[in-house]
């Protein structure tokens, strides 16, 4: 795979919990991410889905080293040279920041209210000294124009803008350093639906024009389906399934994916929904269940699920899954959208 841009291997992020008593040390760990491996090819979009608390955001941020990974390798390919990002010092890492950026979920808290839009977008250029003088302004205007921001508003402060516009500012900041890889961390979920579509289309246009590679983290499956080439499903800090979007949506191999797909709301209100009900809450990542982590809620659970950890296998071409019965179960995917058109 020569055109792999980023590969993560057995990534682990554990957060220590200190005990409450005065002299207590670290007794437990929240295993937010516990052994995740995948690769992303140049120019593709990998969707990453999962419910709240499954560790999606932590994966995205630990790739960028906004959170320090506990273990694992993150190899990043720049100009045909590969670097292990997890081994770099903070200072060395700063040199890589221009190649990788993050688009935040919350367009309100991610922009410093005390800086003008121009200064916000220019931050990566100035902080890494990528440009000086007039070139800064030129590149800021270029990035703002690409994100369809009115250039007259660059002097303004973020509080003058609505959520969608603020998200465009965030995107302009992410692409001003001309990165190769962008993590979109729930980047549209704080916006309303019509704005979501605008932002998604903007992201896709930018990808078509500049060949960006996205890791698109979301919990909204239809959004992920719209933008991603391949999708990975996370459950309790681990990947349960990874496949090309269509395969994953219409022919899931993991019971958890099936449950997720059955929960996609129908466009047609008359269509009856029969979501697969999962009992209970997502278990605590402090004491994850033994064996297959999903066995406590899986409708197809068997005895060996409680003791044996399922292997991460490629059961079809490019279709990875971690389930003992991936080959035997027949699972139902999402409804084909054609049925809606027929109505």
């Amino acid at each position: 795979m020569s055109d792999t841009l980023l590969e993560i291997k057995d990534l682990k992020v554990h957060f220590p919990i200190r005990s409450k008593n005065l002299f207590g040390g670290v007794t437990k760990y929240v295993k937010a991410v516990d052994g995740v491996s995948f690769y992303i090819e140049k120019g593709e979009t990998l969707g990453l889905v999962g419910e709240s608390g499954s560790g999606k955001t932590t994966v995205g941020r630990s790739i960028l080293r906004a959170i320090e990974p506990t273990a694992g390798k993150v190899t990043f390919n720049v100009d045909d040279e590969t670097f292990d990002l997890s081994q770099l010092t903070d200072k060395e890492m700063r040199g890589f920041r221009e190649h990788m950026q993050l688009i935040f979920q919350d367009p309100y808290s991610s922009l410093n209210p005390r800086m003008t839009v121009r200064d916000i977008i220019a931050e990566p250029l100035i902080a890494q000294k990528l440009a000086t003088g007039d070139e800064v302004d030129e590149r800021v205007r270029e990035a703002a124009a690409l994100c369809k921001l009115n250039l007259e508003f660059l002097r303004r402060f973020p509080h003058a803008f609505s959520g969608g516009q603020r998200q465009r500012i965030g995107i302009a900041r992410a692409l001003v350093s001309r990165p190769q890889f962008i993590v979109c961390d729930e980047s549209v979920s704080a916006l309303d639906v019509s704005i979501q579509a605008e932002i998604l289309n903007l992201l896709m246009d930018l990808q078509a024009e500049f060949g960006f590679t996205y890791l698109f983290i979301a919990h909204d499956l239809s959004v992920v389906a719209h933008i991603s080439k391949r999708v990975a499903v996370m459950y309790l800090g681990q990947l349960v399934e990874l496949a090309p979007t269509k395969d994953l949506f219409y022919a899931p191999k993991h019971p958890y994916t099936e449950a997720l797909m059955s929960a996609i709301p129908e466009v047609n209100p008359d269509q009856e929904m029969n979501p697969v009900h999962l009992d209970g809450e997502i278990p605590s990542p402090i004491n994850p269940p033994s064996g297959c982590r999903f066995h406590t809620r899986c409708p197809y659970t068997q005895d060996n699920c409680k003791t044996d950890i399922p292997k991460w296998e490629e059961i079809e071409d490019n279709h990875f899954v971690a389930c003992h019965f991936a080959k035997t179960l027949t699972l139902k995917g999402a409804e084909m959208p054609t049925s809606v058109d027929a109505n």
Binding site: N112, F157, A160, Q165
Partner: protein, 384 residues
């Protein structure tokens, strides 16, 4: 990325173009402009600010505004009542203010010196008159006072039992008390900023150790601590040494609260998305602190400082009042109030309490100013 045509027409205008000029101004206002606009709506706080600025100016030029130095004794004017300037007497009115003359005589029954007003004598008040020599701001030798008499003496707030002019002394005390408050707050603030800043920015074990230390300082009862520290001042120290020692004492007691607030603010700011964004943009620690963290809590710091002033003022006054703080010949509000401790003072010379009015006014002014600043401080908060 290829350069694109950047003419504004080509780009969509996401904001409604029909905006009033006021909105335009609001949208491109800096933080301090916004704070200022909001502060201007707070009338009471402005009054407080004006009073404090006046006090500061008067205190700075105390020798100029007061007709006498703090230690001048007028032996025939002991415990003179406050004298209000007049424009009229039995002979008619004039534009020049004056005070009636004062006769000092011994009461034949009580054998006490008493002062009486002699309405037949008229002593005109002149402005920018020559009087006692002093050094303005400690440098420029001059003898011009803002007002004074050509003969006799004027005591707007009366005199004390030694015949010293209380008005002049109150002005000098204003300087001492305000400056001790300022130094106290500044030292406490620097301590708090360093200690709280280190704890908040680096976190971890260092934070833990600093927090325990702060707790220890905070649980020490304040009055015994003051007393112990003040009692430790050697008697032979000069008044200047005692003055600086006092500022240190106040600061050493005052820093933990401020340090905790700075730490808390830093901790919460460190996790803010925009700080993470700056980190991901490749900004180093100095840029993150200077560009993102400091501006974000500057407004809180200013408010905190203003609010901690009254505490310093009151501590100084209280300590000096009970004789643990500054000592004569230094004059501060607390030192002046020492004279008003006796029953005799309350009965015979209630004007010795006038410095207390200054304490109350100053503390109230700081409080309303702090209140107004706090309301104005965070212009990005959605306010009702």
């Amino acid at each position: 990325m290829t350069p694109t045509d950047l003419s504004p027409k080509e780009t969509q205008a996401p904001i409604n173009q029909m905006e009033s000029e006021e909105a335009q101004r609001y949208y491109s206002a800096t933080q301090f402009q916004l704070i200022w606009w909001r502060f201007r709506k707070h009338r009471l706080a402005q009054v407080g600010a004006i009073i404090l600025i006046t006090m500061a100016v008067i205190g700075l030029f105390a020798e100029f505004f007061g007709p006498y130095t703090g230690t001048t004794r007028v032996s025939d004017a002991v415990l003179v009542r406050p004298q209000a300037p007049q424009f009229c007497n039995d002979d008619g009115c004039t534009l020049r203010p004056f005070i009636p003359g004062v006769i000092s005589e011994r009461n034949p029954e009580t054998l006490r010196m008493e002062t009486k007003i002699d309405p037949s004598v008229r002593r005109d008040i002149y402005f920018f008159v020559e009087g006692e020599e002093y050094k303005l701001l400690g440098k420029f030798k001059t003898n011009i006072h803002f007002f004074g008499l050509k003969e006799g003496s004027i005591h707007l707030f009366g005199t004390d039992s030694l015949g010293r002019d209380i008005f002049s002394r109150v002005l000098l005390a204003t300087r001492t008390s305000l400056s001790i408050g300022i130094f106290g707050v500044v030292i406490a603030f620097v301590l708090a900023l360093v200690i709280g800043g280190v704890a908040g920015y680096f976190g971890g074990g260092l934070d833990y150790a600093i927090q325990r230390l702060t707790e220890i300082v905070r649980v020490i009862p304040v009055i015994p601590l003051y007393m112990g520290l003040a009692a430790a001042f050697p008697k032979e120290w000069s008044s200047t040494q005692v003055y600086f020692a006092m500022t240190l004492v106040l600061a050493l007691v005052g820093w933990p609260t401020l340090a905790r607030r700075i730490r808390g603010k830093l901790l919460s700011l460190r996790g803010e998305d925009y700080v993470i964004a700056a980190n991901l943009a490749g900004a180093g620690p100095s840029r993150i602190i200077g560009r993102h963290l400091l501006p974000a809590f500057m407004s809180y710091i200013i408010v905190d400082l203003v609010i901690s002033f009254p505490f310093m003022l009151l501590s100084e006054t209280a300590l000096s009042f009970v004789g643990l703080g500054l000592r004569p010949p230094t004059v501060s509000w607390g030192v002046l109030l020492q004279d008003a401790q006796t029953v005799r003072a309350i009965e015979q010379a209630p004007w010795l309490f006038i410095p207390a009015i200054f304490v109350v006014v100053a503390v109230l002014s700081f409080t309303v100013l702090g209140d107004g600043l706090r309301d104005a401080a965070d212009p990005y908060q959605v306010s009702g």
